[in-house]
Each structure stands twice: as structure tokens, then as C-alpha cells.
Amino acid sequence: MYETSYHRAESVEEAAKKMGTAEGGKYVAGGQTLIPTMKQRLASPDALIDLRHIPDMKGISINGKDVRIGAATTHAEVASSADLDAVCPGIASLAGHIGDPHVRHMGTIGGSIANNDPAADYPAAMLALGAAIHTNKREIAAGDFFAGMFETALEEDEIITAVSFTAPEKCAYSKFPNPASRYAMAGVFVARTGDDVRVAVTGAGMDGVFRWEEAESALGSNFAASALEGLAVNEGEMLSDIHGSAEYRANLVKVMAMRAIAEAG
């Protein structure tokens, strides 16, 4: 790891101020991607501004169907929230299958979304749930937030403070994890409220997370796994690497979508 300097912020304002005065600074939340990346010298921020100790950015609040999750809430906290599991089981289950138990104790929802790894789980949930991403400057709809592989609508010094969404009537997430990394080879989040169905796919698309609109309209009139028979995502838009070909991933997307529909019920 190249040299860096560490700065802990106690509030969102203090974090933004520290970023303003630091040269080459980067925010760190749980650090479960950033620290390994720095160890490999693929990232070399001169300053790290730690967001993990900001009380306003932590915790889950639920009011009826309205859910708000602080950006510094860990995957373990999301996975173990019985209240969240009761209104939106898909996101609790998703969080419980990120990485491993030790990673889940550190990694945060805000960090995952801000990084927008094309194989991360949370972006699929945000897109399928039609979540709002709250920052210290504005509110961004999930559909406008994810802008391709590792790209988001965030400005350099902007901080995600929370995400919010209205829990759907039914939802589920199904992923085929890479056996070594546990990142999604394909992960599909399905959310349904009435005849409004959203299907978001991570791990498979060349441009990162995306909505499978053809499946959404088929499921709107018939919410059953069989509704996807005869449909296929475009192989030309799928990732192809040593872990799996585009053709294989396209098939995985369909299988994971069918499993998620069956689980959502």
C-alpha cells in the first residue's frame, strides 16, 4: 500500500470539509473493497476520510412500508434486522449473502452503492426497489444514479447519507455467486407491487446493473417463472471473462430471475 493519511469524521459536514481540504482524498466506509484495492496499489488516495463513525448515517428506520437505511449501516445490520425482514425480506436476505460474516460486519450499503461494482448485490436491489439515494447535496433516483461499471452520478466530494424506498408487496433476490469471491456471476432482484414488476440484474451486464424490461412486462400480466419461458437477455450485452462466457451469464440471468420469482411467490 502506498502512503496515505487517515482522517476520521464525526459528522457529514466534517467529512465534506475534510475532503475539501485534503488533496487526492477518498471517502472510506467499511473499506472492504477500498483497502484491498489500495493494498494491490490499484488505488492510492493521499487521504482517507472515514465515514464509519458518523452517527447520523447509521441505522434502519421503518414507518409502515417506508424504509430508510443509513449509508453507514453494515450488511450484517441489514441482514439481521427482523423489522426490515418483515416488510422487505429480499433486501435482508441479499445483505446476508454478501461476502462472508466478517466482511458483512464492516461493509456498508452506502459504500457498496457508491462503488457500483458491476457484480455487487445492492445496486440490483436499489434499481428494482426504485430507491432514492440521499446525499449531502441532493436526492437521486436509483435509475439515474448507476451510470455504468464503477460509475455513478456522485460528484467527487459527495457523500451518500441514506437510501430510502417503499417496500413492495413481494420481493426476492437470487444470485449465483462466484465460488471463490462470492460476487454475483448473475444476481436478480425481483420486486412486485400490483401489476408493477421490476427486475434488476447485477453481475452479468457489460455496463453494470440493468433492468430487464422485457421480463418486467411479461411478469406484469403473469407473475410466474413460466412467464420468462421464451425470453432471453441479449448475449451481446453480457460480460464474458474467465469465470463465465456471455452465453453462460445470459442463461444464469434467466435462471436466477425464475428462482427469485418463485421465492417471492
Partner: protein
Amino acid sequence: MSKVEMTVNGRSVSGDVEDRTLLVHFLREHLGLTGTHVGCDTSQCGACVVHVDGKAVKSCTMLAAQAARAEVTTIEGLAAGGELHPVQAAFKEHHGLQCGFCTPGMIMAAVDMINRHSGKLDEKTVRAELEGNICRCTGYHNIVKAVLAATEQMGGAAKVAAE
């Protein structure tokens, strides 16, 4: 360089370290607590697992500065009064190790999972919970056996204490 202060195994410690120092290196090189191992150094193997504020984390994937002012427990902090912790005793009893390199992380992960599941664990859950700890010798069978035995013993002990 920054001064980092934390509580390790109940003892207040401090050290002047470069900000880029990983928690595992602070523990091993500055405090001499070499029970915590560096295996893969890429967040995969779990040999470096310690508890920070009561939660299992990978100390190769955290800066010492991130753990400043926290309570850290390492494998050296488990045994009390010369008696092995029940999980350590169960690993010995059930031969839950061969070369022993992964063992400190396995035991710290096991203590954490037993705490989180309130002493109720079955084989499937133990195997799923061990996802972040890699052992290349045992095939996991005796590790799982040891964790289940320790769970029973600790649950039993808690019941006795509660009565």
C-alpha cells in the same frame, strides 16, 4: 505517522504508526501478538480474524487507525485464568486442526458465530458461517464438529448460569 490508541485483550495500548498500517501488522509487529496470522492477505482466508468491538473482522482488511479507540480481542485474549476458552478446548478435543495456521481465525470466527446465534447452531449454519475461513488441511469436518461441541457446552454453561 499517527498515534493509535485502542484496547487489546483488555489492556490499553498505543503506538506511533504510519496511517497505512494494517490492524494485523499493528497487532503482530507493534504489540507482538503473533497469534493472529496473515494467510492470503487478500480478504479471502480468514486467518487474520479478530474481534473489533465484539464483532469478527478481517484484520488484514482494516487499518489500525480505523480500529483506534475500539476494543480488540485476539486469540491471545480468549483463555482466562490459564483455562482454555471452550472453543479452544473443543478444537483440541475434536482435533479441529492439522497444521494449525488457520486455527486462530477459525476459533475467533467460531466464538463470534456462537455469540450471534445465541448458542443455537446446526451443522448447515456452521458450514455457511465458515464461508470466510479457509482451511487446507482438515476438510472442515472436525472444525464443524468442534464448533458444534463448543456451542453445546457454552449453551449448557449459560443455562447453568441462568438457573
